[in-house]
Symmetry: C2
DNA sequence: GTTCACCGTGAACGTCGTTCACTATGCTGG
DNA sequence: CCAGCATAGTGAACGACGTTCACGGTGAAC
């Protein structure tokens, strides 16, 4: 099962076979994504993918341990793509004020979610029993591609907060339970902002998630008949900017 | 298929057979829920349910049109249960100040979500292609059990806002797109609050959804390693109360 | 007491994930 | 250059899935 080749044990140049293997892996993931877009995670079927890439189903087991592992790899690659999209949005206009870059990045997140609803659902919906678990359990932090996604927001937020340090509760004023829970993460990110700002960061993430997920999942359709929450999202982002002390 | 009995066409007392039929339906839904809890929507299988209620798979087609329709009915019954839970929380202490009753209800929502994650995921996660669609498309508003769930919050919010009318933008100040989109819903709920308050209501729902869903789906685990966001939720609800002008 | 609607079964079809024995291919070490 | 071998891919098979259909049995209705 994907045994390590003695020739290129770690980081030396990949052999011909390894390149072909990796190429087939991405081809498989592309086919999987096509099926995901067509009909949700349910349609991502081993046999379907195999047909798409011109193989029979058992051949896929040379590349992935099974359907769940394949879905996990698909999640990873999607997290990566999303992180790239966000980085691109953030750095699109490096001279612009940070507030604007933050808003542009937030809008890019929403846009990606709406243009890729099945993918967004896979990454940010209810976890599928055997899939996402494996990812977040991965001991190697670099292997958790979701981390890269979170990193975008963290960098942006930290830069924003340090340039515009809206008052946050001191560590002593924080709920002791919350302070204790967040200490590990706080250290993990190198204490780039005070722990009170981490709470603010999480509350921003929650608000952004809520705004994007409710729209992408259709949980606003009861009120917004056409399902387009653009105007509402604008409102919410203004509110979020105000919470960050970014009054214009 | 479930033809109307000439004896009890509409609302007269149900015949013996009809009662048995209805009883079997709920028994089936209970079995389906047991499987849902065991292993998510994926495990809710026609054959599995049939075995659970002591029948063979084809027999279930006397009660439901198929797996998707069965999942839809399960959603409806879960929405109903959740609405009951919320109503109970709201009316637990009718003499308490509205702010407290609002917070108690919000906490009840979170608690139900955390104690019934698979059910919550089915109702509030990414929509399953063939399932939730049918529900929200139902022309009979009384048949959409999700409406009953939304009604709890709407009643609570309206009562709260009228007792404590925090300033909201006038209709003229609202984004024209948003105003036009919300007009239909505004009429539908009988204009019990001004349309600007509807925007506030939606933003509250989004914030509550974000707080509960991120925790229930594990989308806070990157920072809260134990996954318990109680303290953070407290914070967020305080913030939400402040947005409603409920400073204590 | 006959008729008939309804409940439930068993067999069957096509699809699913997965395993296994097997073959072909192409790289590798002597 | 050739023997050896890891790897890629196939076809058959197993059990489980959703769904359909023809069939028998049971209880209510006239």
């Amino acid at each position: 099962m994907t045994s390590v080749n003695p020739v290129s044990a770690e980081s030396s140049q990949p052999t011909r076979r390894e390149r072909a293997h990796a190429a087939t892996r991405v081809e498989i993931l592309q086919a999987a994504r096509r099926l995901l877009i067509e009909g949700g995670a349910e349609r991502v079927t081993v046999r379907g993918i195999a047909a798409e890439v011109g193989m029979t189903a058992p051949a896929l087991y040379r590349y992935f341990g099974g359907r769940e592992e394949l879905l996990g790899a698909l999640c990873s690659s999607l997290y990566d793509e999303l992180a790239d999209v966000l980085y691109e949005a953030r750095d699109r206009d490096p001279g612009a004020p940070l507030k604007q870059r933050f808003l542009v990045t937030s809008f890019a997140f929403r846009q990606w979610a709406l243009e890729h609803r099945p993918e967004f659902g896979l990454l940010f919906g209810a976890p599928i029993p055997g899939v996402l678990v494996d990812i977040h359990i991965d001991p190697d932090p670099a292997a958790d591609r979701g981390m890269r996604f979170g990193q975008v927001w963290l960098e942006l937020f930290a830069e924003l907060w340090r340039q515009h340090p809206v008052p946050v509760p001191h560590a002593d004023e924080l709920d002791p339970r919350l302070r204790e829970q967040l200490t590990e993460y706080h250290e993990q990110i190198g204490r780039i902002v005070p722990i009170g700002a981490v709470v603010l960061y999480l509350s921003c993430w929650i608000q952004l998630y809520g705004a994007v997920a409710t729209e992408a999942f259709g949980h606003l359709n009861f009120a917004l008949h056409d399902g387009d929450a653009t105007a509402l999202f604008d409102d919410l982002m203004r509110e979020l900017a105000a919470k960050l002390g970014l009054t214009h």
